[in-house]
């Protein structure tokens, strides 16, 4: 190359060709400093360690986790010399490393999404009590998936389960899961629930579920979402944005379908309760009928008593009016004209006398 004269542009192009051939993609770990966003769409920062510093550049849309100065990250990037003579790492992906940086990235994105209302309780949709058709996004090679399917089969039957196999950790995982989510959301007949599961892992493994585009894809899903990632103590933005959070993949299966043994017991109990209600109704009708009959007899008895009482009174009154009884009390019955010389007949209780009127005077 000593005798080849290059223009500046040719030199930059040749350098980039060489870099592309020798180092198409590099992974570099360092600390973020001088983080800037220009014109709302370009991101630049310096990646440094104790020995050196390198410029990093990308589009804001490429950033999947918010960054801040001081965060430790791994950048996956293409090294390039730009036309202004600056050497850059053109970033393809950046991920926080180390507990502190992962947590920082989590908190920054959480605050951003919270401000947008993505975790608001009013956004949460109910899952159907007994779904018939569901979709699962997970790695079918994982123990978490095997557990999930085992629990589903133990608890319920007749469920149509469509499973999208994706990676659930590593740089390609979020995009694969986003494609699977979009695939299920594009189906003509939508599944009733979209389940995203993954077993436990390190904070770095689970940080896949704190990827901003993935979290947004879950939030935008037309299908209600159920997310179970890691163990009970693990919290990711994916499960925070989901409609229903499951503590683990096993718990997701328990939330998704009821336990058929419980349903069978419940159905039997309902049938028994109907039998009990029927017996109660028959008892109640029988008691009511007895009570009605008793009341009817009572009323008839009362009417009869009343009639007998009135009959007794009438008997007394009638007997008092009988002329024979009046004669027995010493009175007499007089028949004939009340004129002097007329014959009168006097009837007593025991005799009938005949007499003549000798005198008539006014009282």
């Amino acid at each position: 190359m000593d005798d080849v004269l290059l223009s500046v542009g040719e030199f930059v192009a040749l350098t980039n060709q060489t870099l592309e051939y020798a180092y198409p993609i590099v992974q570099v770990e360092g600390e973020v400093s001088e983080f800037r966003i220009a014109q709302g769409k370009w991101v630049s920062f310096k990646l440094k360690d104790d020995e050196a510093v390198v410029n990093c550049f990308t589009a804001l849309a490429q950033m999947r986790v918010p960054l801040e100065d001081g965060m430790r990250v791994i950048v996956i990037a293409a090294p390039r010399l730009n036309n202004k003579g600056y050497f850059n790492l053109n970033i393809r992906a950046v991920k926080p490393v180390g507990e502190g940086s992962i947590k920082k990235g989590f908190e920054l994105l959480k605050a951003k999404l919270e401000k947008e209302g993505l975790f608001a309780p009013e956004r949460k949709r109910m899952l159907p009590r007994v779904p018939k058709h569901v979709a699962v996004v997970t790695s079918t090679e994982s123990a978490a998936y095997a557990d999930f399917i085992k629990i589903i089969n133990e608890r319920w039957g007749g469920l149509e389960v469509e499973v999208a196999h994706t990676q659930v950790q590593g740089v390609p995982a979020p995009d694969q899961m986003i494609r699977a989510i979009r695939y299920f959301n594009s189906l003509e007949i939508l599944p009733e629930v979209l389940i995203i599961i993954r077993g436990g892992g390190s904070a770095e493994d689970l940080s896949t579920f704190n990827d901003e585009p993935l979290v947004r894809a879950i939030a935008e899903s037309r299908i209600p979402t159920l997310v179970g990632v890691g163990h009970e103590v693990d919290h990711t933005l994916a499960d925070m944005v989901s409609d229903v959070r499951a503590a683990t993949p096993t718990n997701a299966a328990q939330i998704l379908v009821p336990d058929k043994q419980e349903i069978i017991r419940g159905a039997r109990a309902q049938a028994n309760s109907v039998g009990y209600l029927l017996t109660q109704a028959i008892d109640s009708y029988s008691r009511q009928t007895k009570e009605n009959l008793g009341a009817a007899f009572q009323r008839i008895q009362e009417k009869l008593d009343d009639a007998f009482e009135r009959l007794g009174v009438l008997r007394v009154a009638t007997s008092q009016l009988n002329p024979e009884n009046v004669l027995k009390r010493g009175y007499a019955l007089l028949r004939g004209d009340q004129t002097v010389g007329a014959k009168l007949e006097i009837e007593t209780a025991t005799n009938i006398l005949t007499t003549e009127v000798q005198d008539v005077r006014a009282k």
């Binding site: 469920l159 699977a180 695939y183 349903i263 069978i264 159905a267 209600l277």
Partner: protein, 70 residues
Amino acid sequence: MSGQNKDKSVQDKLTDLSELVGWFQGASFKLETALDKFKEAEALAEEIEKDLTKLKNDIKIVKKRFDSEV
């Protein structure tokens, strides 16, 4: 009864069973028809148990690959 329920899902049968219980507790209750309703409830509970015992889940892995845009 079995003929009517043949095409019904477990969920539908559970709903029917709950409605029967409701009928027994409600104002429409009539002793004259209660025995038939009771038999209906018993048959439904048996069918639900049979359905749940025999039904298997249908699990399909989607053939589409998600490792690239295409």
